[in-house]
């Protein structure tokens, strides 16, 4: 499909670096699936759906900066949803979100809680103000927080919270790859799902730019079971736009 026009209906400042853009079209999607957001004249970038009609964007470079310049009634192009999304299973699930990695996990927490599944979330960020969607996670179940600078919750990494948690049967993780790698090393791989970040070019499963160990993040992923990632490049290196290996 070609991009559809999404007109911004509301902009919410979530954190100093993160904004949610609500728009006038809804996408039926499985949390964890992503859309390609076309900032006309600039770039097209992958974004998780943080609501059925919104994306939550962290400002990091040219395209996200251009997004931040948009106002209500402005528009961008969207195509998707793409990819597989998180597979909901088990009675008691644990979410581990780092930074803007909370974006796909918040709607997932809500979906799970609607199905009467017990949800525990470990939410990490650099600092208190950067904690994303804490109310949503709290409303959906139990929330534990960690900040790098100790301004809220545990002082340290979100992975440090993980050690104390028992009693979950499936874990869902999204955040910086280094953090996800640490999580993978701490859990039973088959019981964990990770949403990966790779450079997405076509988004259609054709070009292969996003491949990790032969698997396409845009089509076979972005969510992969931990046991698949165990034997891969995961946490070791990524590929740059040219396809070169880059150490993480």
């Amino acid at each position: 499909m070609k991009p559809v026009n999404a007109v911004i209906t509301k902009i919410v400042d979530e954190t100093p670096t993160t904004r949610t853009f609500f728009f006038d079209t809804s996408f039926e999607s499985i949390p964890g699936q992503f859309v390609m957001v076309w900032v006309r004249g600039v770039d097209e970038i992958p974004m998780a759906l943080s609501y059925e009609n919104a994306i939550t964007v962290q400002k990091v470079g040219p395209a996200t900066t251009a997004l931040f310049e948009l106002e209500e009634c402005d528009s961008f192009g969207i195509r998707g949803p793409f990819g597989n999304g998180f597979e909901l299973r088990s009675e008691h699930i644990l979410l581990v979100a780092g930074g803007v990695g909370a974006a796909p996990l918040a709607p997932f927490a809500e979906k799970a809680s609607l199905s009467d599944i017990a949800v525990t979330t470990l939410l990490g960020a650099k600092t208190k103000g950067e904690l994303l969607f804490s109310e949503r996670f709290e409303a959906a179940g139990k929330l534990l927080v960690a900040t790098d600078d100790g301004t809220e919750g545990k002082h340290g990494y979100v992975t440090q919270l993980l050690a104390g948690i028992k009693n979950y049967s499936q874990i869902y993780c999204c955040g910086p790859e280094i953090m996800m790698k640490r999580v993978l090393d701490m859990v039973v791989p088959a019981n964990a799902q990770f949403s990966l970040h790779r450079y997405i070019k076509c988004g259609l499963g054709v070009c292969g730019a996003c491949c990790i160990d032969g698997l396409r993040v845009c089509k076979d992923g972005p969510v992969f079971s931990g046991d698949i990632l165990k034997m891969s490049d995961f946490g070791v290196y990524r590929r740059d736009e040219c396809g070169r290996q880059v150490k993480l």
Binding site: K2, G208, G214, C242
Partner: protein
């Protein structure tokens, strides 16, 4: 019963992966090999690392895709490891290469170890490369000859359909010593977002691939078969076994599949087995249907 010798390469079947499709990493090439392809062609690699055009770089249109990747590649200097990894898939690995002149091409072909080279003189949206070279018969002949003298493995030349007469380009490649030609690369095309007036692709225009272009590719293969002594490899819009048969009847010795891999990674084995079943039912061999459309 589908095995063949294609310009010196032994293939277990004539269904290959096209250039630019899951072809940047060794592991992805290996995955395709393991899924049943007769051979795999890598992403086109050049002299220097290239990031390619900005996104959107590929979109779906009616019955096909438009892409303007812009030849993103890690450069040949970072590519031998990928080829070596791909080789573990157990089928021939053909390195697709591009350059701005014959020196570029021979530098790359001289440095890489692959089972064959496919010269990309046909990408329609790379400035200074691809079709900007491949529309001129003299340059095509020159580039082909240069590569031939810098490698011992077979050299295929991939042709652009965006020319008045593809036969003259095919003949130029043959004169230059090509072992086969590959037809076709994508057709120049463009799409505009009517909500904004913006051309959708980051590069504004790109190349059309997928089912939309099959009739054009079939005609190119048919014409090339008529005039060339070297084999023609067909590519463009193949999405099922019937398409593959149609190409072979048009005169393709083997085929490559690009766009259709996106939605069906098992397409290689599916096509091979359906093709076998068809030939069996018809009591035909691969050789018998090869070029059949020219004989009826």
């Amino acid at each position: 019963m589908l095995s063949l010798t294609l310009a010196g390469l032994e293939l277990r079947n004539p269904i290959m992966l096209a250039a630019g499709i899951m072809g940047t990493t060794g592991e992805s090439l290996k995955r395709i090999a393991e899924s049943g392809a007769g051979a795999v062609v890598t992403k086109s690699v050049g002299i220097e690392p290239k990031a390619g055009h900005s996104n959107p770089s590929m979109i779906e249109v009616d019955c096909g895709y438009l892409n303007a990747m812009g030849l993103p590649n890690p450069s040949y200097k970072n590519f031998q490891d990928e080829i070596d990894e791909a080789k573990k898939g157990g089928v021939p690995v053909i390195a697709s290469i591009f350059g701005g002149c014959s020196l570029d091409f021979s530098e790359i072909a001289g440095a890489l170890q692959a089972d064959a080279f496919e010269l990309n003189v046909s990408c329609p949206h790379a400035h200074g490369y691809g079709a900007e070279i491949g529309t001129d018969p003299d340059i095509v002949e020159d580039v082909t000859r240069a590569v031939k003298s810098s490698t011992k493995v077979p050299v295929w030349v991939k042709l652009t359909p965006n020319v008045t007469d593809i036969k003259s380009i095919g003949l130029a490649a043959q004169r230059g010593g090509a072992d086969a030609v590959v037809a076709i690369n994508t057709i120049r095309g463009m799409a505009i977002d009517i909500e904004s007036g913006y051309p959708i692709l980051g590069n504004k225009f790109g190349g059309l691939s997928g089912r939309a272009i099959k009739p054009v590719a079939i005609k190119c293969v048919y014409d090339l078969y008529d005039v060339l002594d070297i084999p023609v490899i067909g590519v463009g819009g193949i999405s099922d076994w019937k398409d593959a048969i149609e190409f072979i009847m048009a005169g393709a010795r083997a085929v490559e599949i690009g766009s259709a891999v996106g939605n069906n990674i098992n397409i290689f084995s599916e096509i091979s087995s359906c093709m076998e079943a068809f030939l069996e039912e018809k009591e035909w061999t691969l050789d018998e249907i090869y070029g059949m459309a020219h004989e009826v």
